[in-house]
């Protein structure tokens, strides 16, 4: 594996909890080029031709294996678009850890747009974990625009955990999913913005098969002068169950717009949306202060818990 510098290593820890080379299959992308790759007997990683990106093929019935594909950028002004396709074979059960860390100390914007497509076979189970992180105090922005597309065959199950807590100036997240009969999708998004940051998160989920279900839950905190938009649309095109939830805390001068979108095209579709936006509850602060915390410490604890 190519030697990473200390900044790159720190980013890698932040986005993938990686201190050394991960077990299982992996591809580490640093400053726009591959810094290390390993395929395993059941998981094959190859480069795409024509565009940047990877093809990851997971054999049917592969069990308890993981794929790590972290990206780190520590170069100011680097802009890249990467296309990664995951083909998850029938009956497989795998964990996929992606994530992108940008450290920008320079004056030019750094940007990573990752397009991830998942083709999940019959009865397969994928747990996908994606963490985004930005650092560096240069004037150049840290920009991440992830696109995630999920195509689920019958009875497959996708769990997606997407976290962006710190340092990303501008983000437009787009997540699309299409589910066949009996397929199940669970999304847990955690988002915190501060300063002048701007984050837009859009979901478009189509429940096409009988008995399919989706549960999309976003918890977010907007501090400083930051701005967020949560736009979640679920279409029920068959007897199915869909639920979206946006639960947000606003602080300082933060602003949040939640746009619920439910579309029922089948009388047997059951769709729900919940949204709650507000500042930290006063009684929560008071309770923690009676336990000896200062107001600022109490806020910290409440937010940490909320974004857990």
């Amino acid at each position: 594996m190519k030697e990473l510098d200390t900044i790159q290593k720190r980013l890698l820890e932040e986005v993938a909890d990686l201190h050394t080379v991960p077990e299982g299959a992996y591809n580490i992308r640093a400053n726009g080029e591959s810094a290390g790759r390993r395929s395993t007997e059941n998981i094959e990683i190859t480069s795409k031709t024509g565009v940047s990106g990877l093809e990851i093929r997971i054999k049917p019935f592969t069990k308890n294996e993981s794929v790590h594909i972290p990206v780190v950028i520590a170069e100011s002004g680097l802009k890249e678009v990467v296309y990664n396709d995951f083909y998850v074979g029938e009956g497989a059960d795998v964990v996929i850890v992606a994530g992108c860390g940008i450290d920008n100390c320079g004056s030019q914007d750094s940007q990573h747009d990752g397009v991830h497509r998942f083709f999940i076979g019959k009865g397969a189970h994928v747990k996908y974990v994606e963490k985004h992180y930005g650092s560096g105090d240069g004037a150049g922005k840290r920009i991440l625009n992830p696109v995630t597309e999920v195509y689920q065959e019958e009875d497959s199950f996708a769990e997606m955990e997407m976290v962006q807590i710190k340092g990303v100036d501008d983000t437009l997240r787009t997540t699309k999913a299409e589910l066949a009969g009996g397929a199940k999708l669970i999304v847990r998004e955690r988002l915190m913005t501060h300063g002048e940051q701007n984050a837009v998160s859009k979901y478009e989920v189509a429940l096409n098969g009988k008995g399919s279900s989706a549960d999309v839950v976003s918890r977010s905190v907007a501090r400083g002068d930051s701005h967020q938009v949560f736009d979640a649309k679920i279409a029920g095109n068959a007897p199915c169950k869909g639920h979206t939830e946006c639960d947000s805390i606003i602080m300082d001068r933060g602003r949040i717009l939640a746009v619920p979108g439910l579309e029922a095209n089948d009388t047997e579709a059951e769709l729900f949306h919940e949204a709650a936006i507000g500042k930290i509850a006063g009684d929560q602060l008071i309770k923690l202060m009676t336990l000896g915390l200062t107001e600022a410490e109490a806020e910290e604890q409440i937010i940490n818990g909320f974004l857990r």
Binding site: T290, L291, G292, L293, Q301, I302, N304, G305, F306
Partner: protein, 248 residues
């Protein structure tokens, strides 16, 4: 000197048209090393008095002294750090904060899981089932209430104020709760406990009873003097009568 002294404390809230006096000219001293029960009719001002002690409300008149020091203008945090603990009548719910987190915050240090479990066992919760639970609406009223009591036990403050700790707690746990308070009283080490309660069995373990009515101290004295005057009034409710109004 007493551990806590309220001197001519009044508290009123004003809306557009009128002012409402909720606590009126209360003079109250709580000695070191005593268990004091505060009772009285609903709406008498008991919870408001507790909030004034904890600093959640500030008196509109009068002064509050803790261990001889005037704390009237001190913040909630300062009072908590100085050694005042308060268990709410209505426990607060959180999102994502676990029982273990709350106990750790209360203890002011990173309690081990075993240590945290001990506090939960004291209030009759099978600790392993609860330690990782979030302190949210998925817990029942009685469970939240017991966790609230456990957090105050974990704080080990010199002055502990419990606001109706028995509310919503089942009969079996109630017996244990009495034991907990008894043990606290015996091991107080100079500290004091104030329990706001309507339950005869809690009043029964108090050294002194204060009756608060219409925001005023209506009477105060030793248990033996006050308790007989309360029996049969709404201030003291026999536990069994309360859960079975026909007394069967």
């Amino acid at each position: 000197m007493d551990i806590l002294e309220l001197k001519n404390v009044s508290f009123s809230v004003a809306d557009e048209s009128s002012a409402k006096e909720i606590v009126r000219d209360v003079d109250l001293s709580i000695p070191y090393g005593k268990l004091i029960a505060v009772t009285g009719p609903n709406g008498g001002g008991k919870s408001t008095l507790a909030k004034l002690i904890a600093g959640i409300e500030k008196p509109t008149e009068g002064a509050i002294f803790f261990k001889g020091e005037d704390i009237t203008e001190r913040s909630i945090t300062d009072r908590a750090k100085a050694g005042i603990g308060f268990a709410f009548q209505q426990p607060v719910k959180f999102k994502g904060i676990r029982v273990l987190d709350l106990l750790r915050i209360a203890a002011g240090r990173k309690l081990t899981v075993a240590e945290a479990c001990e506090f939960l066992s004291l209030v009759g919760l099978c600790a392993r089932d609860y330690i990782d639970r979030e302190v949210n609406a998925s817990l029942s009223g009685g469970e939240l209430k017991r966790i609230e009591i456990a957090t105050l036990l974990a704080r080990r403050t010199e002055l502990a104020v419990f606001d109706e700790p028995e509310a919503g707690i089942d009969l079996w746990s109630f017996n244990n709760l009495i034991d907990v308070f008894r043990r606290m009283r015996d091991g107080m080490d100079g500290g004091s406990i104030i329990i706001i309660s309507h339950q005869e069995r809690i009043l029964n373990i108090a050294d002194e009873i204060v009756v608060l009515k219409d925001g005023r101290v209506a009477s105060r004295g030793s248990r033996d003097d006050i308790l007989p005057t309360l029996i049969g009034t709404s201030a003291a409710v026999n536990y069994c009568v309360k859960i079975d109004p026909n007394g069967r």
